[in-house]
């Protein structure tokens, strides 16, 4: 039963939670409230055995609620294990057996699922805007992970035809270019504040799959800086259930910390 009232952050969290199956291992980085809320929701609903490496540190933490930081100790102080990062976390991440799904957000995201968190402008060394940096996405895009993007700012500045600089490898120029480089995995889904998109299997171009209730296909296209492919069976994104909304509001994030990134 869908919730009588919900906000787009709650819809996104519920949609993202569906990505993860019981028994998957997941990790979150900095300022990742949508993934963290989605993991906490999945663990309370369909995936109680979702293995969560909170902040890439704490294994199966029991945070009382979403804290102000998704990296700091409030998230993982009560954990089964503190995972040392240099040797332990990166071995588990690089191995291929574990942590096969990874959530990413980029300042720019392009038609073929490449992301940019490095720099805006044609001169990398003298950028118009210096972005924070590639951090872990520069690894996760290249090591066979199934990538899931989220974005709370579906607009033409974020969704560009070609990122200025690829700091997270998606399908590169599209088609089989990624595969020819020997890279496995790749982007699968993009969950935004307007819609859910995937990648057309041949061209690897971004394709609209569902629009959120109240949003039209045209609005999504207008908010996107390149021509979208549109699936033949575009439907409405399934809204969160009343119970999902209750869990998010009452148990997971009563402080509403998740909403900060949607205020822009």
């Amino acid at each position: 039963m869908s919730a009588p009232d919900y906000t787009v952050d709650e819809l996104m969290i519920a949609r993202v939670a569906q990505v993860f199956d019981d028994g998957d291992q997941v990790v979150n980085g900095m300022a990742s409230f949508v993934p963290v809320c989605a993991y906490m929701l999945a663990r309370r609903t369909h995936a109680p055995n979702l293995v969560w490496l909170a902040g890439a540190v704490g294994l199966d933490p029991r945070p009382q609620r979403v804290p102000a930081s998704t990296l700091e100790s409030d998230l993982w102080r009560d954990s089964a294990a503190y995972i040392e990062q240099y040797e332990d976390f990166w071995s588990y991440a690089l191995n291929g057996r574990w942590l096969t799904k990874f959530m990413v957000r980029g300042a720019q995201l392009d038609m073929h699922g490449n992301a940019n968190n490095s720099a805006v402008g044609p001169d990398y060394h003298r950028p118009k805007v210096r972005l924070p940096g590639t951090a872990g996405m520069g690894d996760m895009g290249s090591i066979g992970k199934r990538l899931f993007y989220w974005s709370s700012t579906h607009d033409p500045r974020t969704f560009v035809e070609r990122v200025d600089w690829i700091s997270c490898a998606g399908y590169l120029g599209g088609g089989d270019e990624r595969a020819r480089l020997g890279l496995e995995g790749g982007p699968e889904l993009v969950v935004t504040n307007l819609a859910v998109l995937d990648f057309e299997p041949e061209s690897k171009r971004m394709r609209l799959r569902t629009v959120h209730p109240g949003v039209t296909v045209e609005q999504v296209q207008e908010a996107t800086g390149f021509p979208l492919l549109v699936a033949e069976d575009v439907t409405e994104t399934e809204p969160p259930t009343a119970e999902q909304v209750r869990l998010i509001r009452e148990e997971i994030d009563p402080d509403g910390t998740r909403k900060a990134e949607f205020r822009g």
């Binding site: 930081s69 118009k128 490898a169």
Partner: protein, 297 residues
């Protein structure tokens, strides 16, 4: 054993103008802030800073004009925003950036630590960051003919690594209570030519021996130890104290404007003559004990 305990001022002398400094920093996590403030007070110039994810120390050093280059995976204070003084300096071309994925950065430093000419990763393949940085990154083939390429990452040997930890003895054995162990304390000091550790407390060797598995740096790998209680402030030092939200917010606001940023640094960094004066200036014992409560909540 030689007594490694010294003052902030003397330890800072190990960091010369133009040095490559591997600095513990991971967003709002523990950074050796007392030493960062001392470097600013002493007016270091032309430093290359190596961080995993540089937080507020990068912005302070950038604002103070200490940096000419940054090597790392990212710069961010997480919920307190990007580091604006650093960003502007990069955009003006005053600070050069070598941007590496985490595994590429760790491959460079791991190779430095292990005396290897290079390390390897599969990270970054397909990104633009390899071609942008051919001096340190190069795609090579599998010599066993398996077909998979890897990225060779040239060894990086910083001149100095600076870290903050919970305790040390006078020999230089540095110990951490159970907490997140980032590569900035696990590998940066092994790669560097010199290591400075600031610590919350100096203890007797017997205290160290009570938990020999929690020593993160053995005496022989440490050149200087400095007693700096709350030495990571305003970053966190779990489980002892949390990050200071108030000071981070105040800096994030000041950092939008060069004059406000300079005034902030004058007040909190250049003004206080010592670490003790700094602590008094940010609220003294009362404010800091509230951070302790935060960490143990």
């Amino acid at each position: 054993m030689p007594d490694k305990v010294t003052s902030l001022a003397e330890a800072a002398a190990l960091v010369e103008d133009g040095a490559t400094v591997a600095l513990q920093s991971m967003a709002t996590f523990t950074a050796p802030m007392a030493m960062v403030r001392e470097l600013i007070r002493q007016g270091r110039r032309e430093l290359t800073l190596v961080c995993l994810v540089g937080g507020i120390p990068v912005d302070w050093l950038a604002a103070a004009g200490c940096l000419s280059r940054f090597v790392g995976a990212a710069v961010s204070m997480e919920q307190f925003g990007l580091c604006n003084q650093y960003r502007k300096a990069v955009e003006r071309g005053e600070i050069a950036v070598e941007e590496l994925s985490e595994t590429a950065l760790l491959a460079r430093l791991g190779a430095g630590a292990r005396g290897l000419p290079f390390g390897i990763t599969r990270g970054l393949l397909g990104t633009d960051l390899i071609d942008l940085q051919p001096d340190t990154l190069r795609v090579i083939d599998d010599p066993f003919g398996g077909g998979a390429s890897v990225v060779a990452c040239k060894a990086l040997i910083p001149d100095v690594a600076i870290v903050h930890a919970h305790r040390a003895d006078r020999d230089g054995n540095v110990q951490m209570d159970p907490t997140a162990l980032w590569p900035d304390i696990r590998v940066f000091p092994k790669a560097a030519r010199r290591v400075i550790a600031t610590v919350e407390e100096i203890v007797d060797g017997e205290r160290i021996r009570a938990e020999p598995d929690r020593v993160v740096l053995p005496s022989f790998a440490v050149d200087a130890v400095v007693h700096a209680p709350f030495g990571a402030h305003p970053t966190s030092c779990f489980p002892r104290y949390g990050y200071d939200s108030g000071l981070h917010l105040a800096w994030a606001k000041a950092a939008r404007d060069p004059e406000a940023a300079a005034a902030f640094l004058d007040r909190h960094v250049r003004g206080p003559a010592s670490h003790e004066e700094y602590l008094d200036g940010v609220g003294g014992v009362r404010a800091l004990s509230s951070l302790e409560r935060l960490a143990s909540a």
